[in-house]
């Protein structure tokens, strides 16, 4: 890529013909990069077993059988579990964030422990703990059955992250905002509800949307719980059908269904972040 060897030895005035202009050098580098790219692409096309790929990963006949259930059961449940857990996590997250900012030390300690525990543990472990550990240890049923377990487990995982995000958002609101609100006679709680939290949420909408994407993917972990056929989400649906029909296509289609949601959401996050950088409200 470098042609600096020639430039170091040659004086600018002496050998102008042997030196590459900046444009020539740029073309040379670009040409080299495209050559490597095309070589790898060619090798891939020639060496891949396209028959097997077609048969096992992108089998149209298998894919057709998946519809409409993969949407009406799989995607629907994935979205449902994600939204339930997100709503639960957001409410708990805001409460924990307020506790974290409390002037009462035990509340702060509790909030810090909560965040460390639910952010530090694997989501899968929490799901297994809620789904099997708690019912086993206390012989109790979590209300709402499997859906209740999913909401609780995924919601707590989300709450750990969201508590920190909400806290950061509240702390990002300038101190003068609280002073202005208090000087108008608002109580601390009123100032929080009407002035501080609305501004904090504007600041943290991009990270909160990111959290939605993460949660959407983490909802696949509930495949370890005892869900019925009608309660299966995308990943379990894909895995079950792959086993039933002896073909990998269902997993590929399930993956595409995830991307159908996550790519637009990712685009939305970038848009929101760009809008925030421009400082528009």
């Amino acid at each position: 890529m470098s042609v600096s060897g020639t430039t170091e030895t040659s004086r600018p005035s002496e050998a102008p013909r042997r030196r590459l202009t900046r444009r020539q050098r740029h073309r040379l580098v670009l040409g080299g990069e495209y050559t490597v790219f095309l070589a790898v692409l060619l090798a891939l096309v020639l060496l891949a077993d396209w028959g097997t790929v077609r048969l096992n990963l992108a089998n149209w006949d298998v894919a057709k059988q998946l519809f409409p259930d993969i949407i009406t059961v799989g995607l629907r449940n994935t979205v449902l579990y994600t939204l339930l857990a997100y709503a639960f996590g957001l409410v708990v997250g805001v409460i924990v964030a307020m506790m974290r900012l409390s002037s009462v030390p035990p509340y702060r300690w509790f909030a810090m422990a909560f965040v460390e525990i639910f952010r530090g543990l694997p989501a899968l472990l929490i799901i297994i703990f809620v789904g099997f550990g708690i019912p086993f240890a206390f012989s109790i049923e979590i209300p709402g059955g499997v859906v209740g377990q999913i909401t609780l487990a995924l919601g707590m995982v989300a709450a750990g992250y969201m508590a920190e995000t909400v806290r950061a958002g509240i702390e990002a609101v300038p101190r003068g905002q609280l002073e202005a609100a208090r000087s108008l006679g608002m109580s601390y709680g009123r100032a929080m509800r009407s002035i501080i939290i609305p501004q904090a949420f504007r600041i943290i909408i991009p990270p909160l949307t990111n959290e939605l994407i993460l949660l959407f993917k983490d909802s696949s972990l509930v495949l370890f719980l005892a869900v019925t056929l009608e309660q299966r989400e995308l990943t379990k649906f894909g895995r079950d059908l792959t086993g039933q029909v002896g073909n990998t296509t269902p997993i590929v289609v399930a993956g595409l269904c995830y991307l159908l949601i996550t790519i637009p959401l990712g685009y939305l996050v970038r848009r929101l972040e760009a809008r925030q950088r421009r400082g528009l409200r």
């Binding site: 003068g176 006679g185 109580s187 409200r281």
Partner: protein
């Protein structure tokens, strides 16, 4: 809003209310001290502001002027001393500070408008949420006060769409909408471009003429001279001297006051003196 017995949202010139009558000062500060850690910023302040009086506080930066103002509505908790507003002791731990703050308007150096609300909602939110006025009435109060500061046509604009001078006038309207008995101004023009200062001072001048009780921390000597009933010079956490503006600014009796005024009034002259 006529016929309201308590906390009237504000026609002009209603500063003289029952608490202020009968010789009780609107603001009464006694032995006020405030420390931040080991640093004592206020070292025993006694100051009264009568109903309808305009008092300007001047002094070098770091002299404790802003802290004094912030102690009046308890944005800062005084370390010692008493503050009374229209006879109510705000430094009493039993005092309902939110109720007292409704009667004390405050205008900040950095405006501190609520950026997520339009100008009208900035003014309307406290009457709505604190005084529990119905939505349409709060909106009417807001428009009335925006009109009063000359911004009736910018009610729908957001703070980011307003100039600094306009923002500060919205902030004044926001404070006035609560019908305060006293207004505190904390260097209201210090963050403004020079050509925008006049609009804000004009609004404050009008307010003073309407009889509002005002405690103003400012560097605007011409405003202090023209509008104030009394000027207070603070330095190093104490009141050095106070008096009518003509006397204090024109013929100060204290060396520290004289030194400060010469720095403020003739900055270039002082610079050359220091240099020689």
């Amino acid at each position: 809003m006529s016929g309201e017995a308590t906390t009237t949202p504000a026609g002009p010139g209603e500063a003289a209310e029952p608490g202020a009558a009968g010789g009780t000062p609107m603001v009464e500060i006694r032995g006020l001290r405030k420390s931040f850690g080991p640093v004592e910023v206020l070292r025993g302040i006694d100051l009264d502001v009568a109903g309808g009086e305009v008092v300007c506080v001047i002094g070098p930066s770091g002299s404790g002027k802003s802290t004094l103002l912030r102690c009046v509505n308890l944005l800062e908790e005084p370390t010692a001393g008493r503050v009374r507003i229209a006879g109510t002791e705000v430094t009493d731990p039993e005092c309902d500070i939110d109720a007292v703050r409704r009667r004390i308007g405050m205008v900040f150096q950095q405006f501190n408008l609520f950026p997520h609300l339009s100008a009208q909602d900035n003014v309307a939110i406290a009457p709505r949420k604190v005084l529990r006025r119905p939505k349409h009435e709060a909106a009417r109060i807001a428009r009335e006060h925006l009109g009063r500061v000359g911004l009736g046509d910018r009610a729908g604009a957001y703070p980011a769409q307003l100039s600094g001078g306009q923002q500060q006038r919205v902030a004044i309207a926001r404070a006035l909408a609560m019908g305060p008995a006293v207004m505190l101004f904390d260097e209201p023009t210090s963050a403004l471009d020079p050509e925008l200062v006049g609009d804000v001072l004009g609004v404050m001048r009008k307010l003073a003429l309407d009889g509002m009780t005002m405690l103003v921390v400012t560097h605007e000597m011409s405003f202090a001279r023209d509008v104030a009933d009394r000027v207070v010079f603070m330095d190093d956490g104490v009141i050095v001297e106070q008096g009518p503006p003509a006397k204090l600014i024109g013929d100060p009796s204290h060396d520290r006051t004289r030194a400060f005024l010469s720095r403020v009034l003739h900055p270039t002259a002082t610079a050359t003196q220091d240099g020689s």
